[in-house]
Symmetry: C2
Subunit: 554 residues, 2 copies
């Protein structure tokens, strides 16, 4: 049995190794047009930031062995041909045409073929994109050149504030460059975070001296023989180097030319066995589309983590086994300076677009027991389906342990958990790890209170619109005078919660009252106290002052 | 409507606050025999270790307000009577007799009663337990005295190597005391970890200069007017102070005297509404038993996290609502020096005792991308049901992020996930958070390979027994010569994996071969290579050298 794998990176390397273990008598050949195989492309930003000193580190196994063709041959029993491009698939004769470094073409027979052709960075059609000093983030070769250019004191402009763009922002800033990041959409991490969560991360990025520009359209990159500046509809930015990080597109040319079906997302169409429209050809990783487990819709979500899982699935199936890949939740996370930000499932925006009747909340809190010295704040945004009480998504931003709340939420989403079920998860508690009520459980409890109508919240965005609109309502800060002295929201009136029962008679009964505190708990208590005093129109502002993404007085 | 809550700590404070929010017209009284309310008892080890300087920190809300009776009255609308002991419940007349500080008895009427009487540290019947210098870890008052006694240079003996015992070991050692910890069972953290996982933690604790003694029975505590030494069947240990941490027992006297049913675990029997055998009396927290969600059996598992969740449930039900508490997974975690250790669900020991046909594995790996500078090793032990492929439990030990793998596993256990489902979880991946294949997913993949018969593992314990027994087998180290030079297991033969295909003819075909490497992946590859070469009797040792808890040559 002959199996050919086209592409020797995450999914391809995994597929080949797994197929060989499944079927030791199979003859497995991997062809790759590059000279590096099985490298950790996700590690490139850390190589640029010099946390990883030598690019070979990215190609090592966890025990320090560099993954070379010799390594694959000796250890995995898999033949790898590097610097070899697959140029054509003849599905009738089941042959792949390959061209080696010298330009010689030859043919390989296959019984089963695996396409792991990956993705390429999108190169926008901009004047000046080809100038020296303009880079994308994908290949080791380009990363080496980018790292050489990234000298302290230089100016860099990163185009695109997505996951990779922001990782590169951190890497370059940590190397001492002056960094500007411009984003076409109206916020950083569009698609990944709702605006108010993105604003929390953007504040942090700016606090590190990085210039951020959202809703900013690049019109050209200019320079005389080498990049000098980026021209946008919102100013020009001097730049000694430019990084294009505006997304990835699947490498589907080979599949398309062979007549394989391409999905509505533009990536290779596969079924739940990762089989293409040809039963003898499989695909995995960044070149193919997958299913969003929350919506059941096809999505293109290239991720190294999915590529590895899919590689295993196609390895088994190509070798004659029978297994499936369920789909993804669109989980993603990024570290930018001291903050982590990520999501799993649907954002509010995506959930509304998908037609759900949603309830949301913001819940900021320390990530560990508040008295534990290394505890750090994180803010959660939870999105649930009003009709069923089912969790639809979680976003998390902050200096604390964002990843573990996302992982628990991703697991809950996989099993279509309701917020009732999440509120009772028996998570690992001790003061160095969480409060007695973990952030995720607190959020689920608030969501339960909201869904039952007991808690009446309003988002900071809606409050801001009311303020900007000049609406007549009481914006009630129920924190302590000391907290008020330190920082406050313009336009809010202070009545500390402890005094509210006594002072409520001074509040107008005919106006809406919106209460808030630092996080939202005392704001919610204020709602309940005022309601017990007969007030009919009281809400609390989600997340309190900690997730207020607008102006503050200090 | 009158609600009385007996006990003002985690569950009681939560129940009272929640009941008041649910039913603002209810008159709620909390009585507590102590003078501190709603304190974070779990924080006491961190107070002793001086991470928390002032005991009042433990009684503060996350925004820094001390929870006093005045705070509860003003903010929560709940009356709290401290230094007041509930001495009797008269269920016929629905009255609780209370005795105040001055010794005066009075009576409170109730419509609904909530018992949150908590637990007390077990005080073993030992000579000398009452000597000055012998402490338990529960009350603030005793913690203050313990902290005063814990002066650098003194000798401390901690009796009991459970969660609290080990937290106190760290606290005292960090304060500069010479610490010995003695444990009756044959390992530290009995019940929480299987022996080989406990051994990994014990090695770390010893590396910090702490003396550990397992299978060590204390016969008496001796001293002349003050503690001087602990006498055991395995030596005497000088001690300027002794901490008893041999477990907690539920405070059920009041419930028992009132004729309420006590469960088989010795704690108050409750139904899924946390209702006792009297429909007007609820119980929550450390005084009552609950259900193990994996086995469906009743267990006594006092935890601050469960107490808070149960407090919410009884608050709602006592106020006239209708909600349930599902049960627990026995999840627990502890930080000891630079290591974290914990479990969720069943250990192998517990799973076998419960009658499951189990498969297990050990999987050590870095907790982040191996090239990421702050990545640290963790070891997972996964336990699954052979029949159904269902996850039964996860243990995790190491310097890295143990808690997040436990939380994801706990969530998966809640939904009775199979290892197939766990292997495809879409967890949050970027190099600062995990490898592309998260540790939990790698473990699930190995488990799948084991359950399918593709991977044939043997535990380090079984290998050790074979070595000790003088069994005739080939113990094959397939690491590199450089790794072998650094550290090796006595009795193993080196054949690096890369050379195995060439050198396999030198290996005996009539003997069992047990291969291993650093973690287990190359050991597994060796199994597959040898099998493809016709060898019939090959296994790999789970977890490799990293989870070998016995002697190593360096």
């Amino acid at each position: 049995m002959k199996i050919i794998v086209i592409g020797a990176n995450a999914a391809g390397a995994k597929a080949a190794s797994k197929a060989k273990r499944m079927n030791p008598s199979a003859e497995i050949t991997v062809v790759d047009r590059g000279s590096f195989i099985s490298y950790g492309a996700c590690g490139i930003p850390y190589y640029i930031g010099n946390m990883v000193h030598d690019e070979k580190e990215l190609m090592k196994t966890p025990v320090g062995v560099v993954r070379t063709p010799e390594f694959f041959q000796k250890v995995k029993g898999v033949r790898v041909l590097t610097n070899t491009e697959a140029t054509e698939i003849d599905r009738k004769t089941k042959k792949v045409a390959i061209r080696d470094k010298a330009g010689e073409t030859s043919f390989l027979d296959y019984d089963k073929l695996v396409l792991t052709t990956g993705s390429s960075p999108v190169r926008p059609c901009l004047d000046g994109c080809g100038l020296p000093g303009v880079f994308t983030v994908k290949s080791i070769e380009e990363a080496v050149r980018l790292k050489e250019s990234a000298q302290s004191g230089k100016k860099a402009c990163v185009i695109g504030a997505g996951l990779i763009g922001l990782e590169v922002v951190e890497a370059l800033a940590e190397q001492g460059l002056q960094v500007t990041v411009v984003e076409l959409f109206g916020q950083i991490l569009p698609g990944l975070l709702d605006p108010e969560m993105a604003a929390l991360l953007e504040q942090h990025i700016r606090s590190k001296g990085v210039v951020t520009r959202s809703a900013c359209c690049v019109s050209s990159i200019k320079g005389n023989g080498r990049v000098e500046k980026v021209v946008t509809d919102n100013g020009e930015f001097e730049a000694d180097l430019v990084v294009l990080a505006v997304g990835a597109k699947p490498n589907v040319e080979l599949a398309k030319a062979a007549g394989l079906a391409i999905g509505e997302t533009g990536a290779i169409l596969v079924d739940d066995h990762m089989r293409t429209s040809d039963p003898d050809i499989f695909a995995a990783g960044d070149c193919c589309e997958t299913v969003n487990l929350v919506t059941g819709k096809k999505i293109y979500a290239p991720m190294g983590s999915s590529a590895n899982k899919q590689g295993r699935v196609v390895g088994i199936n190509a070798a004659g086994g029978d297994t499936t890949f369920a789909g993804v939740l669109g989980t993603a996370i990024v570290k930018v300076f001291d903050f982590s930000a990520g999501k799993t499932g649907l954002t509010e925006t995506a959930a509304r677009a998908a037609g759900y009747d949603v309830e949301t909340l913001l819940s900021p809190a320390p990530d560990k027991a508040h008295f534990y010295s290394t505890s750090k704040p994180i803010a959660l945004k939870m999105v649930a389906d009003k009709t069923t009480g089912r969790l639809l998504g979680l976003q998390a931003v902050g200096a604390g342990a964002v990843d573990k709340r996302l992982d628990a939420a991703a697991t809950a989403l996989t099993f279509r958990a309701t917020v009732d079920q999440i509120a009772q998860l028996d998570l690992a508690y001790a003061p160095p790890y969480s409060a007695a009520m973990d952030n995720l459980i607190v959020a689920a409890d608030i969501m339960k209170n909201k869904l039952s109508g007991e808690a009446k919240g309003i988002s900071p965005r809606e409050v801001k619109a009311k303020l900007d609109n000049g609406d007549d309502f009481v914006f009630l800060d129920v924190r302590s005078p000391a907290e008020y002295e330190t920082v406050r929201i313009p336009g809010a009136k202070l009545v500390p919660l402890g005094a509210l029962r006594e002072k409520m008679e001074g509040l107008p009964r005919d106006k809406e009252i919106i209460a808030f505190c630092k996080i939202s708990l005392r704001g919610y208590e204020a709602q309940k106290i005022l309601e017990s005093g007969g007030f009919k129109n009281v809400r609390f502002m989600d997340g309190g002052i900690l997730t207020w993404p607008y102006e503050l007085e200090k």
